[in-house]
Subunit: 324 residues, 2 copies
Amino acid sequence: MSSIDLIEAAAGRLSGHVRETPILTSPFLDDLAGRRVLIKPECLQHTGSFKFRGAWSAISALDPEARLRGVIAFSSGNHAQGVAHAATLHGVQSVIVMPSDAPQLKIENTRALGAEVILYDRASESREEIGEALAARRGLTLIRPYDEPQVIAGQGTVGLEVARQTRDLGVIDADVLVCCGGGGLTSGVALALEQHAPGLRVRPCEPEGFDDVKRSLASGSIQNNNESAGNICDAILTPQPGEITFPILNRLCGPGLAVSESEALEAMALAFLRLKIVLEPGGAVSLASALFRKDEIEGDAVIVVASGGNVDPQVFAQALEFLT
Amino acid sequence: MSSIDLIEAAAGRLSGHVRETPILTSPFLDDLAGRRVLIKPECLQHTGSFKFRGAWSAISALDPEARLRGVIAFSSGNHAQGVAHAATLHGVQSVIVMPSDAPQLKIENTRALGAEVILYDRASESREEIGEALAARRGLTLIRPYDEPQVIAGQGTVGLEVARQTRDLGVIDADVLVCCGGGGLTSGVALALEQHAPGLRVRPCEPEGFDDVKRSLASGSIQNNNESAGNICDAILTPQPGEITFPILNRLCGPGLAVSESEALEAMALAFLRLKIVLEPGGAVSLASALFRKDEIEGDAVIVVASGGNVDPQVFAQALEFLT
């Protein structure tokens, strides 16, 4: 199947199981951005991020025997929760391999969503070895977070919704800002829009200092980040674009955008004040780009995919300080 | 026209102008509530509360000449913002009469939404006198916050959506918890459900100490609150149920529910954590009732109308402390 056929097939499997998130707007944000801003709040998706879509897509695409044996994922973040919840709703076991120093709340949440959580010591153990041994012994299927066609197809359903919803609102020609880590969401949305809304152009958004995709697009080849951690936008810190996702991004996306931690936090505060939604820093870099990189954006309207809202209350309280 | 005809006519006028807010769920909230919880987040409505619906309904129902002369409202809260924004979108002037000691941010927001704000001194002036003089001189139409059939009809469109959306989710028999001040939203929803989802029963939710509707329903006649202020749920503090709304509530609603300020704040924290939405205290009393008054609720599922999210960051930060 072609990529767009995979996305449309995924949309069929996801129907009735994922939320169609709405499009939100605010005249206050329009003023700040200097153009009409349409926000797609995937923080309102099941498990608080778009990751549930890709997880559901991948699990529902497995052949029934493989699915029955269960799935495994390496993640301490949004992908873990998406896989755990989607597996439980399919009635199958999920194993999530997490570092033992992951926040206790994330471990508890993932367990509460039905997963078996296996902890490993980041310093002395390899999660790949642990995962591969477990997967082989129990016949589990690995669900990769972005370099996996069925995961990309699931994330691409965001693009199908954006194409239809923004056309209904009269926007057919605009930049679409997407929070970008490994590029699963960004490439899926770009593929969906290529087919269904060719006037919409995807722009990957990243944190400054972790702008591997922006630099890779500029150079035309995969570039790494120098650091692997140490930024508040933890949900979208990846070492480099994916091997499957990068060629898609390179073919379809406009230039990347990068924002500071402080700008991500301020965008969270404005989303609180003007949209009444909760964004995590990594889920707010797209809105931050719309508000604080407006000279790098073209057109009378801009579409913002706000990818997730799984943020600790302490970090959220820090964002709220921009309003006081 | 009958009440339900008014609501359906309002839905026609509102179509394409209000957001159909989604239904949100979380397995974590289901666990806490001991039943399935379906949340209707009207905080995601334009201007951050359901009030935009009633304002749009009332303004769009005016005869064109009256509409052209403009509208007036007394409010420092959600009704003010709803009227201001709906009037501006209709291309007509709105005058909002507010106490001079209203929070500066609310005054600025209401002006930014296009209203002319008239301030009065709460101690020495009567807002009614100021408003009536202005209305007479300029031919403005007063938009009352709840005791006004077209406002009730607009709020009732929430009920039309709830009836359809929850039926699609397989819920046809449940209590519907609604945040209740003067009763415009509660009576509108009750009228819509009477016609379209007779298995759904509305339960008004209020802050303890300001449970005039609960006591009025228990006694069968309008009861007052002893105090007019001094509770964190400021959006839903009214002296007594409305003269138009109370007979509707009395005919259609089940017993009222009342929660403490602390329970409202904790519900806000859980809505942040599990739903990624921002609720104000008065908009969270329905969710608080679902979570903390579960023995007073019947059935395998409960529907929660979360009415608004216009909360100061300081108060929100206070709610977040429940999570740390």
